[in-house]
């Protein structure tokens, strides 16, 4: 299983596309910039929802209105972040896989996704009952706080990858 995954990854790493990203002086920073732009939009738009869950912002609007207003941007930016991140990854896959901060970043993104999925699953039934309140039930506040911490962790790991890995 691990063997096959490694073969799969090295297939992409030795592709012409990966070669180009690795060797081209403009392509790598260009994709990296796109990655930063999209991550900033993901994190910033998610913080707007998290601050509402914590009762610190947009308290005059219901939780679902805040979510509906920002989540289209979150998901679009997330798609761009995954696409650009994948391109950066295949350009140096072996080095990224050997970097602990890269593993941590992926785990934290999964944890943030799980946190969001759990919030939706747990709150789906009685959201309409309390979503207009300023002070939300404890699980909702916990989900908001946890989300902020996880995304701060994602950004920190992303930055630390750059300081612990020689890319070129």
């Amino acid at each position: 299983m691990m063997e096959q995954l490694r073969d799969f990854i090295s297939y992409f790493e030795s592709s012409a596309l990966a070669d180009n990203i690795r060797e081209n002086d403009v392509l790598f920073p260009l994709i990296e910039s796109l990655h930063v732009v999209s991550i900033c939009l993901v994190v910033g738009s998610i913080f707007a929802v998290d601050l509402r869950l914590l009762g610190l912002a947009s308290t005059d609007r219901s939780v679902s209105r805040v979510m509906n207003g920002t989540l289209p941007l979150t998901w679009t930016a997330f798609a761009v972040a995954v696409a650009s991140g994948s391109l950066l990854f295949i350009s140096n896959a072996t080095k990224y896989l050997g970097n602990g901060y890269f593993d941590a970043k992926i785990l934290l993104i999964c944890a943030a996704g799980l946190n969001m999925a759990m919030f939706h699953a747990l709150s789906a039934k009685d959201l309409p009952r309390w979503e207009n309140d300023t002070r939300l039930p404890l699980p909702a506040r916990l989900a908001g706080g946890l989300s902020i911490l996880l995304w701060v962790g994602v950004v920190a790991c992303g930055r630390w990858i750059g300081f612990t890995m020689e890319v070129r």
Binding site: S33, L41, G44, S58, G69, V155, W160, G162
Partner: protein
């Protein structure tokens, strides 16, 4: 001549005890960059959410002044955090930015983006009516929103490019 003076200034700045501390404590620069990027995420997303509302791509059912009032005021205190973390990053590695034309491009774009955002915030709050109905106002707002998206993206791209255009 100017370059020489600036170069001397960088040398002096790099020799200060604050700069020495930043240079010799490995985690300070990635930590500052993490706070810097998280703050960029807040400022950038706030501006973009309003720009996308002007283009009627998000929160169509909410009046523009309400959206602007929710997101734009947050930009100004967070810009102060950006100024502080950015200044400390310069103190830690003066030559990286002060002898780098990409850094000055970023600052120029930032100056224009600040004026545009402040102008937009002022004109929306001082005359909140008919931003969606009046043709002239709608066009002016869309022009400003497009410029804002281009400027903030330019700032983020320039920020990433600073790392690739260092003179050493």
């Amino acid at each position: 001549m100017i370059d020489l003076g600036l170069s001397e200034f960088c040398k002096w700045l790099a020799a200060t005890s604050l700069s020495q501390t930043i240079q010799t404590t490995g985690w300070i620069i990635p930590a500052l960059q993490t706070i810097h990027i998280l703050s960029v995420a807040v400022v950038f997303s706030s501006a973009i959410l309003v720009d996308l509302r002007i283009w009627r791509l998000l929160e169509r059912d909410v009046p523009l002044p309400e959206v602007a009032h929710r997101f734009l005021p947050a930009i100004w205190p967070v810009l102060l955090i950006l100024l502080m973390t950015g200044s400390l990053l310069i103190v830690g590695e003066p030559r990286r930015s002060l002898l780098n034309s990409t850094f000055y491009l970023k600052m120029a774009l930032l100056a224009v983006a600040i004026m545009l955002t402040a102008g937009l915030q002022r004109s929306i709050s001082s005359s909140p009516n008919s931003w969606d109905k009046d043709r002239g106002r709608r066009l002016a707002a869309r022009f400003a929103a497009t410029a804002s998206i281009a400027l903030w993206c330019g700032i983020l791209f320039a920020g990433r490019w600073i790392a690739y255009t260092q003179t050493g």
